[in-house]
């Protein structure tokens, strides 16, 4: 028979059991998650043609041999189409390259990363890194829940062929838009193609790069970001943006771009530029490794200059965004990978040397060394300038999942074909944007 004390003790033990069983869980929540020691196969979807995630995956397995990868890859345009089905499918990816994220976040297909941000201390990183991947409850970007992370943080601007630039008398990068336009005119005068750019529907219209650069040159970046982040009542049809589009139209009419731009693919444009066709090309630092290899010592970079002398240059700077599916099996390990990418020395080196971009991560970490004479030095330095000025923007093509394919690309192609004017371009894109947001 149980006496009273034993009975009370037994009850106490029974009461405590569930709490004891919860203890490991609580302890696990306190420590930052990792990949453990058991074999883990990370189910990943990467973008074809971009080496950086593949190289990072290789290095990660080298450092954590229990983690192996099941990597599927596809073209960016195909990924745009298949991402919703991959995220909602039976075998959701642990890691996936995200072309856009708002609709996926709103549909509950992406994992909320706020817990991981807390555990790993990502919230202490320089603010802009995480903000572009946050989505608020009303679907606006820039604040709210964290749904994705960048493997690195790319920067766009103007690359130039140093030999050809010297031919037109360019001794240093232009300080104002007027100086840049004078150089374009000089290139045309010298029978050189001023700007090489791509523009086929398959690659997506590359004139969106100079257009956005012009928008930020003649106007403020805030309203552009508001539009990209889908803030209420945001519009792309503003006075300064129309002025920017008019600049672009004048460049088109002056023959500053190749006459066959509507048929040029991204890879062809870069190939032709490397072969000496075009003094300038608007592109991003993800192309650094290729430019360094194909145009050693002959490639330079500058940020699009402001219209006003002394103004701050601005640039499109976006994370190489990856997310974790809401139902991913190895979410902890994927989150640990994100943290490793930004903080591990070798991973950061890969981010810079292969990816060509700033690896981000906690402030105070040393930037990996880059070979002397590499254009990567110039893009990294430019990134610091934009970071200090607070003039970075996301890409206008990322405002909605289909705005690039259904808005910017066809309307800019029409502008090249003489079938669209500056205001008409922006109004058509705005109408498409509003229609897509209504969906």
């Amino acid at each position: 028979m149980l006496n009273k004390h034993k009975f009370v003790l037994l009850i106490a033990v029974i009461m405590l059991l569930p709490m004891v069983s919860l203890m490991p869980v609580v302890a696990a929540q306190d420590a930052a998650p990792d990949c453990g020691t058991e074999p883990v196969v990370l189910n990943a979807y990467f973008e074809t043609g971009f080496d950086i995630p593949f190289r990072l995956a290789e290095e990660f397995t080298r450092q954590y041999p229990n983690v192996t990868w099941d990597i599927k890859q596809d073209q960016f345009t195909n990924l745009i189409n298949s991402t919703p089905r991959l995220l909602s499918g039976d075998n959701p990816p642990d890691l996936i390259r995200l072309p856009t994220m708002v609709s996926f976040a709103m549909q509950g297909l992406l994992m909320d990363l706020d817990g991981y941000a807390e555990a790993f201390g990502w919230n202490d990183w320089p603010v802009p890194q995480l903000d572009q991947n946050r989505v608020a409850e009303d679907g606006t970007r820039g604040s709210g829940t964290l749904f994705a992370m960048g493997l690195n943080y790319s920067l766009t601007g103007v690359f130039y062929n140093k030999e050809l630039a010297a031919q037109i008398g360019m001794t240093e990068p232009p300080a104002t838009l007027a100086e840049f336009e004078a150089l374009l005119a000089a290139a045309k005068e010298a029978d050189l193609l001023p700007i090489m750019q791509w523009g086929s529907a398959r690659s997506g219209m590359g004139l969106a790069f100079p257009l956005q650069a012009l928008m930020a040159s003649v106007g403020p970046v805030g309203p552009i970001n508001d539009w990209i982040y889908q803030k209420p009542d945001a519009t792309i049809v503003s006075e300064s943006n129309i002025e920017a589009a008019e600049h672009l139209l004048r460049w088109i009419e002056a023959g500053y771009f190749p006459s066959d731009i509507n048929a040029i693919e991204y890879t062809d444009a870069n190939g032709r530029f490397a072969q000496g066709e075009g003094v300038f090309i608007f592109n991003g630092d993800w192309q650094n490794a290729v430019y360094n290899a194909e145009m050693p010592g002959n490639i330079g970079f500058f940020l699009m200059p402001p219209a006003e002398e002394g103004g701050a240059p601005a640039a499109m700077s976006a994370p190489l965004t990856f997310g974790i599916a809401a139902n991913a099996v190895n979410a902890d390990c994927a989150a640990f990978f994100f943290n490793w990418v930004a903080s591990n020395e070798t991973a950061r080196e890969i981010g810079v040397l292969v990816g060509g971009s700033n690896p981000g991560g906690p402030s105070g970490l040393e930037m990996p060394a880059v070979e002397e004479g590499s254009v990567t030095n110039e893009t990294l330095a430019a990134g610091v300038v934009v970071g200090e000025a607070g003039t970075s923007m996301d890409f206008i093509a990322n405002a909605t999942s289909a705005i690039f394919a259904q808005g910017w690309t066809p309307e800019l192609q029409k502008m090249v074909g003489g079938r669209q004017d500056a205001a008409g371009l922006l109004e058509a894109v705005q109408a498409e944007y509003e229609r897509q947001l209504e969906e």
Partner: protein
């Protein structure tokens, strides 16, 4: 037993009589066996063709992103297509492609097959047929990529035009608003001409040579032979060519996607491309389904009369 009696009837019994015996019995063993033979194919057809078809029709009445909840919108998706010039324009582009994918290959195919049949029945004819048929064995995606290079500003086509003094008309054919659709259509001619030629030539070889002989004795020239004998007697083959090529034109996707992806602007956007973009890029499954249903209806509206006029009435 009736069934046993039916089965034991001599094989030489006239078919008409046999049919009558079978049709008078609601379920005969033969028909059951027949259905059993057909069943596997029928099940596959039902799963992979009929079910998706009915689902598409159903989706076309909903607003749905493919993941979330479906909302009934009645005929709104169809109204959207008829209201939106970009969507309606894709059907117009597809009809233009019919000229290139169907009218030109069938017409040229008739002429080429007739020439091969008349003047080159030997090895030369075999070589000509093989060369013309080769595009059929090349995957359309590969053909599209190759033609993308050929039609580029610095491609072979422009080099040839330059060489013959037509440098003034050179351009990036696939990036030009006025010429992109005809350029894509030209690729279609290249792909489908061989198919039509070989099919029509096969038909010609079955025609009774006595007909041509007696026509020639009566003094008929090549043109008269062609219009009075060849074309009327090849009605069936022409019908097949038209059916296959018109469907290829209206449902075109691969060549267009690989060469222009619908650009520049929407100059080469065809329903196939637009359905793909609506369904997979924009996640507008309902609207994409409605456009698919409209495309299918359009195909049937064009193909059924061809089938009707080409039906074999000789029996």
């Amino acid at each position: 037993m009736v069934t046993a009696m039916t089965l034991s009837e001599p094989v030489s019994q006239p078919i008409a009589s046999s049919r009558k015996t079978l049709s008078s019995k609601p379920i005969s063993r033969e028909s059951v066996i027949g259905w059993l033979f057909v069943l596997p194919a029928l099940i596959m057809y039902a799963i992979f063709v009929l079910f998706p078809l009915l689902q598409s029709v159903r989706y076309s009445f909903f607003r749905w992103n493919g993941i979330g909840e479906m909302r009934w919108v009645g005929l709104d998706n169809y109204a959207t297509i008829l209201d939106d010039p970009n969507l309606l324009g894709t059907i117009y582009n597809a009809l233009i492609l019919v000229i290139f994918f169907s009218v030109i290959p069938v017409t040229l195919g008739l002429i080429v097959a007739s020439i091969i049949h008349r003047i080159a029945p030997g090895k030369l004819g075999a070589v000509a047929r093989t060369v013309l048929f080769l595009p059929q064995v090349i995957p359309l995606v590969a053909a599209g990529i190759i033609w993308g290079w050929l039609l580029a500003l610095t491609g072979l086509i422009n080099q040839l035009l330059d060489a013959v003094g037509l440098g003034a008309i050179t351009r990036a054919w696939l990036g030009d608003f006025d010429w992109a659709l005809p350029a894509v259509g030209f690729i279609g001619v290249w792909v489908l001409l061989g198919f039509c030629t070989v099919l029509l030539w096969t038909g010609m070889t079955k025609l009774d040579p006595a007909l041509f002989e007696s026509a020639r004795i009566d003094g008929a020239d090549w043109r008269t032979e062609f219009t009075r004998i060849t074309v009327p007697l090849l009605r069936q083959e022409i019908g097949v060519c038209l059916t296959v090529t018109i469907i290829a034109a209206l449902a075109a996707f691969d060549i267009v996607y690989v060469t222009t992806a619908g650009g520049p602007g929407n100059a080469t956007a065809v329903p196939g491309i637009q359905i793909y973009i609506l369904a997979f890029t924009q996640q507008r499954i309902g609207l994409a389904s409605a456009l698919s249903v409209m495309l299918m209806t359009l195909v049937l509206l064009i193909i059924l009369p061809i089938q009707f006029f080409n039906r074999d009435t000789s029996k």
